[in-house]
C-alpha cells in the first residue's frame, strides 16, 4: 500500500503516527498507564509527543516500550483520561536522548510520576546484570508508582510525605552518602532533583528534566535551559552540565519568560 513513496520517506518524515490504545491501567488515583498497540523501541528515558486530537500535544516519557504513564494535572492530561481501549492518539517519537547506562551498582531516585522513565531503566539495567537500588518518593502510599517493577529489578526504599509508607519525609533523605554507586539516575519535580544534585557527585548523576516543549525536535528553542535543548540534547543531562546552569533556579514559561522554580 505504500508504493509510490520515494526513498526519502520514512526515517526523515515524522508526522504523528496513529497509536491505538489497547489497555489503560490505573496506577494510582491520579496516574494511569496507557498501552498502545505498537512499540516505539525507545531507549529508557526517551519521550514522545502525545497528540490528543483537538486538544493539545504534550511530552510524555515512555514508561514501557509501548506505553506512557500520565498524571492528570490539566486540560490535556484530563482529556487523555477520558480515552480508553480502542481510542487512539497521535504519537511523534521516540524523541531526545535517554539515560546513559553505566555498569555497576546504580541508584534510581524517583519522585511521583518521575518513576515513568526510570522503571524501564531499572528493568533494562537489571536484565543486563547491573545491581539496581531504587528510592521512590510520593505524597502518600496510594501514589507510589511502579513499586513492583522496581522491586523486581532490585532493592527498593520508600519515602512518603505523610509517612503512610516507608520513611516519613522526602525521598532525598533516603540517599545514603556512604554507598558508592556507579551512577545515580533521577526523575521527579525539579526542586527534588535539585536537592539530589546538591547531595551527590554531579559527574555521576543523570537527571531527566521537564521543560515546556513545543517543537520537540530541537528547532524552536522553547525548551532551552541556558543553551541546552531539553527536547533534543536531553531530556537526560549529566549533573556536571546542570551544576553550572539555571537548573533548579528558574525555568521558562510558554512565552519564554523566566519563572522561579
Amino acid at each position: 500500500m505504500d508504493a509510490g513513496r520515494h526513498i526519502w520517506d520514512g526515517a526523515s518524515s515524522m508526522k504523528p503516527i496513529n497509536a491505538e490504545i489497547i489497555e489503560v491501567v490505573e496506577e494510582t488515583p491520579t496516574i494511569r498507564t496507557f498501552f498502545f498497540e505498537r512499540s516505539f523501541d525507545p531507549e529508557p528515558g526517551q519521550f514522545v509527543m502525545a497528540w490528543i486530537r483537538g486538544v493539545d500535544e504534550i511530552p510524555m516519557a515512555l514508561s514501557y516500550d509501548n506505553a506512557i504513564t500520565v498524571q492528570k494535572v490539566g486540560p490535556a492530561t484530563s482529556s487523555l483520561f477520558e480515552l480508553g481501549s480502542g481510542d487512539s492518539i497521535g504519537i511523534r517519537g521516540p524523541l531526545g536522548k535517554g539515560f546513559d547506562r553505566k555498569p555497576g551498582h546504580i541508584l534510581l531516585v524517583a519522585g511521583g510520576v518521575g518513576a515513568a522513565p526510570l522503571a524501564p531503566l531499572a528493568e533494562k539495567a537489571s536484565s543486563e546484570g547491573m545491581k539496581v537500588t531504587t528510592l521512590i518518593g510520593a505524597k502518600t502510599k496510594k501514589e507510589l508508582v511502579f513499586r513492583q517493577r522496581f522491586e523486581k529489578a532490585g532493592n527498593v526504599l520508600i519515602a512518603t510525605d505523610d509517612g503512610s509508607e516507608g520513611k516519613y519525609g522526602y525521598v532525598t533523605q533516603l540517599i545514603d552518602n556512604n554507598k558508592d554507586y556507579s551512577q545515580i539516575y533521577c526523575c521527579g519535580p525539579e526542586i527534588m532533583m535539585k536537592k539530589v544534585l546538591d547531595k551527590v557527585p554531579p559527574s555521576k548523576a543523570q537527571f531527566s528534566l521537564h521543560r515546556y516543549i513545543k517543537c520537540g525536535i530541537g528547532i524552536c528553542g522553547a525548551c532551552c535551559l541556558d543553551g541546552l535543548r531539553v527536547c533534543k540534547d536531553g531530556p537526560v543531562f549529566s549533573g556536571d552540565v546542570l551544576k553550572k546552569s539555571e537548573f533548579g533556579i528558574y525555568r521558562r514559561n510558554e512565552c519564554g519568560e523566566r519563572v522561579k522554580v
Binding site: 520515494h6 526519502w8 520517506d9 526523515s12 518524515s13 515524522m14 508526522k15 504523528p16 496513529n18 509527543m49 497528540w51 486530537r53 483537538g54 493539545d56 500535544e57 504534550i58 487512539s88 497521535g90 511523534r92 513545543k214 517543537c215 520537540g216 525536535i217 530541537g218 528547532i219 524552536c220 528553542g221 522553547a222 532551552c224 535551559l225 541556558d226 543553551g227 541546552l228 535543548r229 533534543k232 539555571e246 521558562r252 514559561n253 510558554e254 512565552c255 519564554g256 519568560e257 523566566r258
Partner: protein, 296 residues
C-alpha cells in the same frame, strides 16, 4: 576568506542563525554564536508576552517542516538581558521584532539595544501580525520608515513569499529606508492527519520551511537582487555549503539558516569550512560568486 561587511556590520562569515530558531534565550543564541555563526537573529519579539498557538506547533513533513508557533515570546520588556547574554558570543546580535502597526515597531525598537533590527512583517500564521501586514507595500514602507527614524543601527526587513510580487514589497522596504531585505519567511502550508481528518497543527495551518522551499527562496533572492539597490539576505532551505553558495550566486550577500540547525547544531562551522574549500579549489572569492547567476 569568508568575512564581509553587511550593512555596516562586520561578520566573520556570511552565515547567520535565522529568526525563531533557538532564539528565545540568550544562552541558546550564545551557543550558536560559539558554534561558528557569523551573526545571530533572535526570536521575533513583540509588545506583550505571548504564549503562541496551541500544540502541535511543528510537524515534520516530507522534505521540510510546517510550523505554527504563533510568535511565542516574553515581550521586549523581558528581553534585553537575553540579547546581552547572546552578545557574549562575540558576534553581532540582530533583534527580530514584530508588531501590529508602525507604533508597535517603534516602541519596541526604541527600547531594545541590538546590533541591527530585523522587522518581521512576514510570519504567515499570526493574525494581525507578520504577513498580514507584509503583503501591503504601504504598510511595509511606513513601518520601515518608522523604525529607521527610531534607531541608528541597520534595519533589515524580512519578506514573505506569499505574495503575487515580492519585488514590490522589497521596493517598499527600500523606499522606507531599509538597509537590507531578508527573503524568505515560510510559505503557508498545511498537513492533515488522515487517521482522523484533523489538521495536524493546533493552528490548523502554518508555514513551510526546510529543503522543500529552497527553489522558491533562491528565485525570490534572484528577483530581489535585480530589483533593489540594497543587499538581499537569503534564507529558506539551506542545509549544506552548496546551498549557501547557490544563494550567494543568486544574489544574497549573506544567508540565514533555520530548520537545518535542529539536526545539526554544528552546521555553521561545517558550512563555512565547506565554502572555504570550494572557493579555494575554484580560486574564487566570496565577492566573485556574489550575484554570479546574473552575470553568466
Amino acid at each position: 576568506m569568508l568575512s564581509l561587511t553587511l550593512t555596516g556590520l562586520k561578520l566573520k562569515n556570511p552565515l547567520m542563525l535565522a529568526a525563531g530558531i533557538m532564539g528565545t534565550t540568550g544562552g541558546s543564541l550564545k551557543r550558536i554564536a560559539d558554534s561558528g555563526a557569523g551573526a545571530v537573529v533572535t526570536k521575533s519579539i513583540g509588545l506583550e508576552p505571548k504564549s503562541g498557538h496551541s500544540n502541535p506547533s511543528m510537524v515534520d513533513v516530507d522534505c521540510g517542516y510546517l510550523n505554527a508557533m504563533g510568535l511565542p515570546n516574553p515581550s521586549y520588556k523581558n528581553f534585553q538581558h537575553e540579547i546581552d547574554t547572546a552578545k557574549e558570543g562575540g558576534v553581532p546580535v540582530i533583534a527580530s521584532i514584530f508588531g501590529g502597526c508602525s507604533l508597535d515597531f517603534s516602541q519596541i525598537s526604541i527600547a531594545i539595544h541590538a546590533d541591527a533590527f530585523e522587522l518581521n512583517v512576514s510570519c504567515p500564521h499570526a493574525q494581525g501580525y507578520g504577513a498580514e501586514i507584509g503583503t501591503d507595500p504601504i504598510l511595509v514602507e511606513e513601518i520601515t520608515h518608522a523604525v529607521k527614524n527610531t534607531v541608528d543601527v541597520p534595519v533589515w526587513v524580512k519578506l514573505t513569499p506569499n505574495v503575487t510580487n515580492i519585488k514590490s514589497i522589497g521596493l517598499a522596504a527600500q523606499r522606507g529606508g531599509a538597509d537590507a531585505v531578508v527573503a524568505i519567511n515560510t510559505i503557508r502550508g498545511m498537513a492533515i492527519d488522515i487517521e482522523s481528518g484533523y489538521p495536524i497543527l493546533g493552528n490548523k495551518f502554518g508555514g513551510l520551511s526546510g529543503r522543500a522551499i529552497k527553489p522558491v527562496a533562491v528565485k525570490s533572492v534572484y528577483d530581489l537582487y535585480e530589483a533593489l539597490d540594497i543587499p538581499v539576505i537569503g534564507v529558506g532551505g539551506i542545509s549544506d555549503w552548496k546551498d549557501a553558495i547557490e544563494f550567494i550566486m543568486a544574489g544574497a550577500q549573506a544567508v540565514e539558516i533555520g530548520s537545518a540547525v535542529g539536526n545539526n547544531i554544528n552546521i555553521f562551522n561545517e558550512i563555512s569550512s565547506g565554502m572555504e574549500a570550494f572557493l579555494s579549489e575554484k580560486e574564487w572569492t566570496l565577492e566573485d560568486i556574489y550575484g554570479m547567476a546574473h552575470q553568466v
